[in-house]
């Protein structure tokens, strides 16, 4: 019989999210806020904004995901759902991957919409908007998966949000570099394929290894 546990976990995330609009709104509102701060904090000259737009959009997306990570496993940890997952006969890595995939789907759609909107506001050329969306589509699952390892390691701890930030700062660098330089290349009319290929290979690496690290981390967090 086919193993549907991955999809069941994904569906569960959707159901929970659909009952509180906050889950959808928090990452987007944070994203918009960060993007808005840059034109206000720097000066709103179109040339400047156009050159730094890829960086701003990617940094904002990264921060929005970072913000959502603290709550990724917290409720499930507190109400005991994670312990049930660990006890279940299905592989824990698969179950957790389903959960993270569900969370990613909840965040990504609104994020893509708002990112393309702000891309236009910041003066990104139209032909680079596609690259922006593709790079976010490939890059954000990497961020979620790597972030989920840190969230799993810190789920039982007190100051977890500070710790998550510190843990992820070095690990997020490659995704940020390749993601924003892909958009930068596209906006200057160069080919962004190399960066997108690198992002895709990072995605494959994290897709295969991160769930294993996550499940090991969850077991450690629950053992204390």
């Amino acid at each position: 019989m086919a193993d549907f546990s991955f999809f069941i976990l994904m569906q569960r995330e959707f159901k929970i999210a659909s009952r509180s609009v906050q889950q959808f709104l928090l990452p987007i509102s944070f994203f918009s806020l960060v993007v808005l701060l840059f034109p206000l904090g720097l000066n709103p000259s179109p040339q400047l904004l156009q050159t730094i737009a890829p960086g701003i959009l990617w940094v904002a997306a990264l921060l929005a995901i970072l913000l959502s990570l603290d709550n990724l496993f917290r409720e499930d940890y507190e109400d005991g759902f994670l312990e049930l997952l660990v006890l279940s006969p299905r592989p824990l890595a698969l179950l957790l991957a389903g959960k993270v995939a569900g969370q990613w789907l909840i965040i990504i759609l609104p994020l893509l919409l708002i990112a393309s909107l702000f891309g236009i506001f910041l003066g990104l050329p139209n032909h680079s908007l596609g690259t922006l969306l593709i790079s976010l589509l490939i890059g954000t699952p990497c961020l979620m998966l790597i972030g989920a390892i840190a969230a799993a390691l810190t789920v039982g701890l007190q100051q977890s949000s500070v710790l998550i930030t510190l843990l992820l700062l070095p690990l997020y660098l490659p995704v940020l570099i390749f993601g924003s330089s892909a958009v930068q290349h596209a906006s200057t009319g160069l080919s962004s394929n190399p960066q997108l290929y690198m992002l895709s290979s990072l995605l494959i690496l994290t897709l295969t290894l991160a769930p294993l690290a996550m499940s090991a981390a969850i077991k450690i967090s629950l053992s204390q």
């Binding site: 790597i146 390892i149 390691l153 810190t154 701890l157 007190q158 100051q159 710790l163 510190l166 843990l167 700062l169 070095p170 690990l171 660098l173 490659p174 570099i177 390749f178 330089s181 690198m198 990072l202 690496l205 290894l209 690290a213 090991a216 981390a217 450690i220 967090s221 053992s223 204390q224």
Partner: protein, 250 residues
Amino acid sequence: MMITHYLHKIASPAAFYLFCGRCLPWLIALFFIVLALGLYGGLVTAPADYQQGDAFRIIYVHVPAAWMSLFIYLVMAINAAVALIWRIKISEVIVVSSAYIGASFTFLALVTGSLWGKPMWGTWWTWDARLTSELVLLFLYFSIIALYNAYEDKRVASKAISILALVGVINIPIIHYSVVWWNTLHQGATVTKLDKPSIHIDMLIPLLEMAFAFNLYYLISLMQRARNEILKREFNSLWVKKLCQESSNE
């Protein structure tokens, strides 16, 4: 068979504690001899650089420190794998003890590099690939230390940082090459491409001596930290109590 038997014996905390205690005086003596040789060679006998003059002599601290910062991470990651797979207590202790020493060496490499950069490149800091990845390495060490301190139960903490160390070791090459690529995409090498002639043999020998001295220092510092950590973890066990009695009797 002999070797595995010996390894099993040394992997017990009590035996490791005593073994380190016996090694330490010898290692410290050897460290001072090699350090004196290296410093004398580096500061006195090595010829001044044709371009940088005497200022290049900071290389004898900077380069060994940078090597150690990477080497210690590697030691840490190997011990993390051992700790997770075979649950060997000593490896757990080595992981956490190394993190502090590694962070110090990374910091030393960054500071000496910055001091060297000011007169040579005319700036304290550039966003050069090597500098940036060294800074990232420092943050990796910091995150490991912070995570360790956040857990109450130190055995659980050791397992958690072992996972983080392994995630980090996969990421180090990726981070390094992404930063290299990022930098070449943006500004290209401008200040860092000082022509580097292959190093003269009189300069190289003191450098290797210093690297050896730094390794010895790491070993000494690691053993002392590990002994402390073992005592803290095993303070309730019989052999520690016996040890305390013996030392109070003397």
